[in-house]
Symmetry: C2
Subunit: 283 residues, 2 copies
């Protein structure tokens, strides 16, 4: 079914700002798939249609507690030959998110978006193993790394997460987000540490795309701001990322987020805030 990092990210971010995904699709990505994006106002001009091609494909299964995914099949399809060529509109983006892909490609896109005032990057164990130098260079060119906590450890060779996050910040980024599956996400910056649990749900159907929906809520919220992405706003962005991820997993693929409303998002954001507050002791 419809999925992929760019799709999940774009739908999640679309509640906060104008989104323009860049990437290739094959013949299997037709009007029905475009409609899911366009119904949410996502701008699809930079989606490259490759005639005769097949879209990237992934199939996997999850352990019983849904925390561990096992890949059963990956087909690169049109991503195998992809060379990103951004439109002028895409090149002017204020906020740039480089979804998980070969880091040379991420760097090519980053180089074309010189004006971005806030940029982020996701990656995975495969690139740490096979393209580490390029990945480290790519990380050095963004403001915020958003990856799984195990990947931060693997990337830095540092088992302690706080130290590992500091090692990443030494490469350049001013913020590091450690995604932790059902346990939520943690934010490391020079100013400190912040963490949120996953939003508790009694019905989780499909965790696929949760991390991309998190990133979409996070970067989408920040892009929609008038002011800078300061510590307080990064924390709110963590909240929106958590909320979008939580809706994503309630149903399969894009089903839930495609019919979501901003009102539902803000209600859950406030519920999450109430779930994480506790009072100081009386003075």
């Amino acid at each position: 079914m419809l999925g992929g990092a760019a799709v999940h990210f774009s739908l999640a971010a679309s509640f906060f700002t104008e989104v323009r995904p860049v990437g290739p699709v094959g013949d299997d990505f037709g009007p029905e798939q475009f409609a899911v994006l366009e119904n949410r106002g996502v701008l699809t001009d930079d989606v490259e249609r490759v005639a005769g091609g097949q879209s990237f494909f992934w199939r996997g299964r999850y352990e019983y507690d849904l925390n561990v995914a096992h890949t059963e099949d990956t087909q690169l399809g049109v991503f195998g030959e992809f060379e990103p060529k951004l439109s002028e509109a895409a090149k002017c983006a204020d906020t740039l998110f480089l979804a998980n892909i070969q880091p040379d490609l991420q760097r090519q896109v980053r180089a074309q978006c010189g004006d971005a005032s806030f940029s982020g990057l996701d990656s995975m164990n495969l690139w740490i193993e096979t393209a580490k130098d390029s990945l480290l260079a790519a990380i050095g060119e963004v403001d915020c790394l958003v990856v799984n906590d195990a990947e931060i450890r693997m990337l830095t060779g540092e088992s302690n997460l706080a130290r590992a996050a500091r090692a990443v910040m030494d490469l350049g980024p001013r913020a590091v987000v450690a995604k932790q599956g059902e346990y939520g996400a943690a934010l490391f910056t020079a100013d400190g540490f912040f963490a949120l649990p996953g939003f508790p749900l009694e019905d989780v159907r499909d965790p696929t795309g949760a991390g991309d929906s998190f990133a979409g809520g996070f970067f989408g919220y920040l892009d929609g701001l008038d002011g800078p992405a300061d510590e307080g706003e990064l924390r709110r962005a963590m909240g929106y990322g958590t909320v979008l991820a939580s809706f994503n997993v309630e149903e399969f693929g894009t089903e839930r987020v495609a019919r979501l409303t901003r009102e539902e998002i803000d209600e859950r954001f406030e519920a999450l805030r109430r779930m994480t507050q506790f009072d100081a002791l009386p003075a």
Copy 2:
């Protein structure tokens, strides 16, 4: 070195209230070990000295990220023949914590403490596998279950943690605390959900006893209150549990907590509060 659930719990709770551990020790538990407890004001009258016996002994190792413990050796020692006989003072306890042990023993102690207005229980996979009926009965007799999240799933046969916690509450407890290692801990009650991350530390030496120190901070704080353990106080208790666990892991055994001060605890409690707060959107 010195350890064990009762020791870690008692030291952590001693910062908030009078603590009276109940349990047997052997000849290897001498004046030096008693002094660690008594220096923190812990009342040791109910510690039963078994002449010629050996104290409970555990040895294990941890995976590189310190999240998974592997047991290498367990020797029950004097616990093999233990029959809890509580002093009158112990029987009058307002707050009772049943540390992890065979659930029949937990029930014997629970039965002797009829006045306890707030009681809690820890357990482990071994008792779920070998004494499940007794454990379910023991859980039905306490107000609060405090176990690892994987154990809540295992106990209830429910992979979703929120549903699993509800299934535990259906057995009797009004609160369920899911310990999640470095990810922190989550609290489920009829009123809602609350979660805290583990306090971030760049130097973690020894996670042994972290869960017991958490429980000590949690139940110790609640016992020290004048008022009831309502939702707001349960949340603060989660904060103190998190803080005590974080000090525990900074050094080996009881080393760090033995020389801790209430001032250090309250400073870290407030730091934790700042690390978990985010602002509502402007109205």
